[in-house]
């Protein structure tokens, strides 16, 4: 027998899509508060939100005659007609938040509008919405949600322990607070305050709370596009990103707000990584928070009920804006370079390091490098002076150059360092159309498998720019006539190079990948003995690089172990 579901059941099903767990309630209510123009949002929960969730704000409030309507499904003050969906600027818009919550919990709504002397309270549960009763209340809205899922045992089982649910809530609220620095946020659990972020007092406390105190210190504020003069075509990108070298194994701490909405976007995550390009370490991810503001008509949030994904109208321009802002920041922030060096700590030693101490003792890397657009002639001279202070001590395991500036032991990965030097030389020459080519006395053919041939084909123009002359010579066969000239004393390894093209290096564009591979296949390897003069020439060239700290694939080139760290290893303190 087919029956029409009663409205209460329909409500519960629909609510299931919006209200999955306590955090869903908090999210709805806090977003409503922010939409109401709150400058203060206080969240109080008990037993992970299963017992009560209490969200109070000082926003515009709801007039008593509209309070019942607030619980009606698809009732909202934020949209009037379908056309408004085209330009949703508020966080909530579907008008199903309160109705959904009431479907699975007991809700008390207390509100006082600015013009009103007193407040009104309405109780709602399931389909029963009470009459507004006068009550003493502060201006704004307060919503108290009790007995969440009490009438939906299935969902209750699905919910985790109160402490796990509370952790989600705390993480969410602290993260959201990043996007609203002028709003005061507070959170308390079971009668104990968890945090209070006073509005307008800067980002440090919020960043430290979200990312952890030490990682937060590695965050670099993005250059505002207005300052860096980048044409971002309708998208403005602000935020804080980790300095190169500080990174994580996953993307979980890549927080992204689009128009104040916390979202995931594979596209923009890719742009983020791309911005790091050769600064990034392979398989490691930068972290931080990005605030992307685009005109409301360029974004369509109406994709998923939990609004966690977003559809962009001009994704490529937003991608571009994100990437370029990050590039501009990393390339111009000398401080990022400094932190960069600090971040590269040998695994076993990191525990001994106090970052503040190392900052003070890292003059070699703290200097603005010659590449910085605003570097002056004296900076460059200074840099050379610094490099010459490095005294080469030895070669370790035919792989690392050991040097010192008297204050720290400096280890250089000879392959990574040489790769960086070669990469920049190749890139510079290719950009100038000035790549020398070394013709072969004995040209030879290589036969590639289908996949390799495809990779090779795709890169052939960039390869030719870099000096590799390969003529098609039958199906998947090429005749190598000339190779990029003289990057070091070795013959160019075409096959190894093509294999390498297959490795996906995040953030490098096609040409950069060609250059990175050329560099990799033309330089000294680990396990090669180097003369003293070779080592010092390598270091001198390395410090003149635009980005001396990493090889093009993102591995570190230089590691400093401060004397103070060594002192502690020997327990001399």
């Amino acid at each position: 027998m087919i029956r029409r579901l009663d409205e209460s059941t329909v409500g519960q099903i629909a609510a299931g899509e919006v209200v999955e767990r306590p955090i869903s309630v908090v999210k709805e209510l806090v977003e409503n508060a922010l939409d109401a123009g709150a400058t203060r949002v206080a969240v109080t929960v008990s037993r992970g939100g299963l017992e009560t969730i209490d969200v109070a704000d000082d926003g515009v409030g709801i007039a008593s005659h509209e309070m019942a309507l607030a619980f009606a499904r698809h009732a909202t003050s934020k949209l009037r007609e379908a056309i408004d969906l085209e330009r949703v600027a508020t966080l909530g818009f579907r008008g199903e938040g309160l109705a959904s919550i009431a479907a699975v919990a007991r809700v008390r709504l207390i509100s006082r509008t600015p013009g009103s002397e007193i407040g009104y309270a309405v109780d709602a549960h399931d389909l029963d919405v009470g009459e507004p009763e006068p009550i003493a209340a502060a201006p704004g809205t307060r919503i108290i949600v009790r007995d969440l899922f009490a009438n939906v045992p299935v969902r209750r089982e699905y919910v985790r322990s109160p402490s796990a649910e509370f952790t989600r809530i705390a993480t969410f609220l602290a993260t959201l607070a990043l996007a609203y620095p002028s709003v005061t946020f507070s959170l308390a659990h079971d009668g104990k305050p968890t945090f209070v972020f006073p509005g307008g007092t800067g980002m440090d406390q919020r960043l430290a709370h979200v990312f952890g105190a030490i990682p937060a210190r590695a965050l670099v504020a993005l250059r505002d596009d207005e300052i860096s003069g980048i044409d971002v075509r309708g998208a403005r990108v602000r935020g804080y990103v980790s300095a190169p070298g500080t990174d994580r194994g996953d993307r979980r701490m890549q927080l992204l707000f689009i128009n104040g909405r916390l979202l995931r976007s594979t596209l923009l995550a890719g742009a983020w990584t791309a911005g790091y390009a050769t600064f990034a370490l392979a398989h490691r991810q930068p972290f931080g928070v990005l605030f992307v503001d685009v005109a409301p008509d360029r974004v369509d949030p109406n994709v998923h009920p939990t609004k966690s994904d977003v559809r962009l109208r001009h994704p490529e321009s937003v991608h571009d804006a994100v990437k370029r802002t990050i590039v501009a920041t990393l390339a111009n922030d000398a401080a990022s370079r400094m932190r960069d060096a600090l971040a590269i700590a040998p695994a076993g030693i990191s525990a001994y390091r106090d970052p503040s101490e190392v900052v003070a003792a890292a003059p070699f890397v703290a200097q603005p490098f010659a590449w910085a657009t605003d570097a002056t002639a004296s900076d460059v001279v200074d840099l050379f002076a610094r490099a010459s202070e490095l005294r080469i001590l030895a070669q370790l395991d035919d792989t690392f150059v050991l040097a010192t500036d008297g204050r720290a032991l400096v280890l250089v990965d000879q392959h990574a360092a040489h790769e960086r030097v070669a990469f920049e030389a190749i890139a510079a020459r290719a950009k100038r159309g000035d790549a020398a080519s070394e013709p072969l006395l004995l040209p030879y053919t290589i036969e590639l498998d289908a996949e390799a041939a495809l990779r090779f084909e795709r890169s052939r123009v960039a390869l030719a720019d870099a000096g590799l002359d390969a003529e098609p010579f039958g199906e998947r066969t090429y005749r190598i006539v000339a190779t990029p000239a003289g990057y070091g004393a070795r013959a160019f390894d075409v096959r190894g190079y093509i294999d390498d093209l297959g490795d996906d290096v995040p953030g490098l564009d096609a040409r950069e990948r060609v250059w990175a591979s050329l560099a990799c296949h033309s330089v000294v390897r680990a396990g090669e003995a180097l003369e003293h003069a070779e080592m010092s020439a390598l270091l001198a060239r390395l410090v003149r690089c635009e980005n001396p700290m990493h090889c093009p694939h993102g591995r570190p080139t230089i590691v400093r172990i401060e004397a103070s760290a060594i002192v502690r290893m020997f327990k001399r303190t």
């Binding site: 020398a436 013709p439 072969l440 004995l442 030879y444 000239a485």
Partner: protein, 373 residues
């Protein structure tokens, strides 16, 4: 086994053998040298399975037999013995060495587990003056490829025998070295043969056998895939590189239309200075020949400009050509002559470099591709 011998003899034999031993081998016995006492001589053998070196020296043998000793350790010990007589007694697990009042026991591995010598079945053979052989090896093997990238063939050096002529050729695909001389004893009936020899084996042969009078070279094994170099005191057996050596003759221009004759030392010095400036630009130096002057220039955005002028003997038209200075200097460093001749066809054709005033029984030349932009 048991024998006594001079410390100098055993130290030099074991020292040479230990250079063949591969320090990173995964087969423990390959880190050892094999000592065999038989017929009043000691044979010291080391192998990395591709190359086997054996040194022979006289000894007083009281009990014939064999023992294997860790090569680096034993050679280190012997290298620190003053001149004198050393006695060695070996068992499958131990080598006891006695010198005056010093007594050492080294852990040994059973000698019968040591890889046997390759087949002694001899094929084609010829003989070469040892001093000439050393010259030829020195003149060619550096030009071979040092990387697997273009295949093992180019890592080897070609020995091409035709009657009583030997031609040694090495190339890495960019530059080529060719050296010819007359053999002390050629192939029977003016026959021909080609061997691609790992360049390292030629270097070892030159080092270990170069002080002898003549070196006997013979193909070994049923398929002739090994080559033995033997002199009175030592021998080397090497597995040949399998493959087809490229037709090098076709890349050497048959004739050239212009040339310069220049002082070798002055050219090397000029190129080395210019290369400093060209360093980050593929070591590219330009050479311009005009009015009996050779002008070397180099420039780079990061370092500056170089200009060198040399007086030369010029024949034929003027020319501007670019080279990788590093390659050119490496070639010139292997020419033992006060003056060299460089011959050209044009800025994009291979150039030839030869010594002047060389002994008539030797023909020695290099071919180098110019760079292009």
């Amino acid at each position: 086994m048991k024998f006594s011998c001079s410390t100098k003899d055993i130290a030099s034999a074991v020292g040479a053998a230990s250079k063949v031993v591969n320090a990173h081998t995964t087969v423990p016995i390959l880190s050892n040298v094999l000592l065999t006492a038989i017929d009043d001589t000691i044979r010291v053998r080391a192998t990395d399975l591709e190359l086997t070196l054996e040194h022979v020296f006289p000894a007083q043998i009281t009990e014939p037999g064999s023992v294997t000793v860790p090569a680096k350790l034993f050679s280190g010990y012997l290298g620190n013995l003053p001149a004198g007589i050393v006695e060695l007694a070996g068992t499958p697990t131990r080598a006891s060495v006695k010198w005056e009042k010093s007594n050492y026991d080294f852990h040994a591995l059973p000698a019968d587990e040591y890889p046997p010598l390759p087949s002694s079945q001899k094929g084609t053979s010829f003989a070469i003056d040892a001093r000439r052989f050393r010259e030829g090896v020195n003149a060619t093997i550096f030009a071979a490829s040092s990387e697997e990238a273009r295949g093992a063939v180019l890592m080897g050096t070609l020995l091409e025998i035709a009657g009583d002529k030997i031609t040694m050729v090495a190339t890495d695909g960019y530059r080529l070295a060719k050296w010819e001389t007359t053999l002390a004893r050629g192939l029977e009936d003016g026959g021909t043969a080609k061997f691609i020899v790992p360049s390292r084996a030629l270097a070892e042969a030159a080092r270990n056998l170069g002080s002898a009078e003549t070196i006997e070279v013979s193909a070994l094994g049923p398929s002739g895939n090994q080559l033995a170099f033997a002199a009175h005191n030592a021998s080397i057996v090497v597995r040949l590189v399998d493959g087809q050596y490229p037709n090098y003759a076709q890349v050497i221009p048959a004739s050239f239309d212009r040339s310069v004759t220049v002082n070798t030392a002055a050219l090397i010095a000029g190129l080395k200075r210019a290369e400093l400036v060209a360093g980050d630009r593929a070591s590219m130096v330009k050479m311009s020949v005009s009015n009996a002057q050779l002008i070397i220039t180099a420039n780079s955005d990061t370092t500056g400009n170089a200009y060198e002028e040399l007086d030369v003997e010029q024949t034929g038209d003027d020319l501007t050509i670019a080279f990788n200075a590093r390659y050119l200097v490496e070639i010139l460093n292997h020419i033992d002559a006060a003056q060299i001749v460089m011959e050209f066809l044009g800025p994009l054709s291979p150039a030839a470099i030869r010594p002047t005033g060389e002994a008539t029984e030797v023909a020695h030349m290099y071919v180098l591709m110019p760079l292009r932009q």
